[in-house]
């Protein structure tokens, strides 16, 4: 279980408990956090679950796969700390994780 804070583009914060094994994307969907669309349901096929990982957490998360990197390359407003949240698996070690959401996923 990890406490994850999602911060919407307008600054609204949502701190929720997410079970180990789920993805950061699923944590948002299951808790109705707006701002993550996840059109493909976690298949790394759509890049609509884009998040910015808080700098303090970037090194604690497994690196993005080549597939994810390529998808992100063309996402809107991509930054060095951009990730697809469907590709981040939740573990106890991620408790306290903060991710910020882009203005739009499309």
């Amino acid at each position: 279980m990890a406490k994850i804070t999602y911060i919407e583009f307008d600054g609204t914060e949502h701190t929720v408990d997410v079970r180990n094994g789920l993805s950061v994307m699923e944590g948002a969907i299951k808790n109705n956090v707006p701002g993550i669309d996840a059109d493909c349901g976690g298949a790394c096929a759509c890049a609509t679950c884009h998040v910015y990982v808080d700098d303090a957490w970037r090194d604690k998360i497994d690196k993005a796969s080549a597939m994810e990197e390529s998808m992100l390359d063309f996402a809107q407003g991509v930054e060095p700390n951009s990730r697809l949240s469907c590709q981040i698996r939740v573990t106890d070690a991620l408790s306290g994780l903060i991710v910020r959401l882009p203005q739009d996923q499309h």
């Binding site: 969907i29 109705n32 059109d39 349901g41 298949a43 790394c44 597939m67 998808m71 063309f74 499309h106």
Partner: protein, 407 residues
Amino acid sequence: MSRNRIVIVGAGHAGGSAAALLRQYGHVGPITLIGDEPYLPYQRPPLSKAWLKGEAGEEALQLRPSEFYDTQSIVVRRGAVAAAIDRIAKTVVLSDGDTLPYDTLILATGARARSLPAPGADLEGVHALRTADDAEALKAHLIAGHRLIVVGGGYVGLEVAASARALGVEVTVIEREPRLLARVAGEALSGFFHAYHGARGVRFVLGGAVTAIEGADGRAAAVILDHGERLPCDTVLVGVGAIPNQELAAQAGLACQDGVVVNLAARTEDPAIYAIGDVTRRPLPLYDRSFRLESVPNALEQAKQAACDITGRPPPAPETPWFWSDQYDLKLQIAGLPFDVDHRVVRGDPSSGQFAVFHMKGDRIQAVEAVNSPAEFMGGRLLIGAGRPVSREKLADPAISMKEVAA
């Protein structure tokens, strides 16, 4: 209209998403979701892929957890069938006689699997794949060494073939057309998938029509083809397309034309009735025509269009239609639709298992089919949406990055 009573008929991906979006967009009035299945809204794409292989559980299928509907005050009537719409009284009549009043109605009734017009198609052991129950029934027969015949070389058929091979099932795919994916993909992609499945033990009969399914003790035992061949089997999966569930709308007098006709706000000709997802025929501004799309991204886009219109938000930005399919270690991503194509550009080498086919109209991309090529998919989708001309030579040269091609 804050007390606007919204009834959504159909609790699939489209209906479930519309309910969630309406709450996200601030709708406070009652929302009732009517579904004829015994389940809360779930995702259908994994049914032929991860779920069939036993890699995804029931919870992973759920669109939202069950608490969601309570906390969001969304009433879900499961196992409920909408029998009629009374547009004058503004009510939906259920088959159990119950009558639900609405101010706004959203039809998200989806599509159903087309059945095979051949004797024996109703035998035990002949399956379709559309619902979780369908998938459960099929999965029970995907046992190593068993013989599965897939009728129809479309996406559902090929995804099941790949999943069944992973489980050690002997698979034969029968396709009426001379190539796979004939209705939905270009020839290069058809040839590639044919070879890839073939190398993994799938047998194909192309250009073969099924004339009958033969039974033994009431169970499917063999498939008979038009040229007389008899293929023994243990199980048959029929994946020959889907038919929109438009009867409810048609009986209510709403315009239907292979799908309920809607505008870009997902509204029908009745201002109180919207329709979203597989059941609709919708405008495609990028291609200057209307079309019926069967895909999750389309269901979500239209759910958004309807929810925005109902809650008075500005309409969402138009999207380029897209689609994906997972088979073996392949990720196929398709953007756009190959209308009015005059030539094709292949980027990369299909035999490497990583390539993309761009369907062009002059110097513009109409559609891209990308196999294990996410940059080509994403770059292609961007260029299709923008309608920007692109250099054919650059596109054909994998040494030039998609970033540069799209720049």
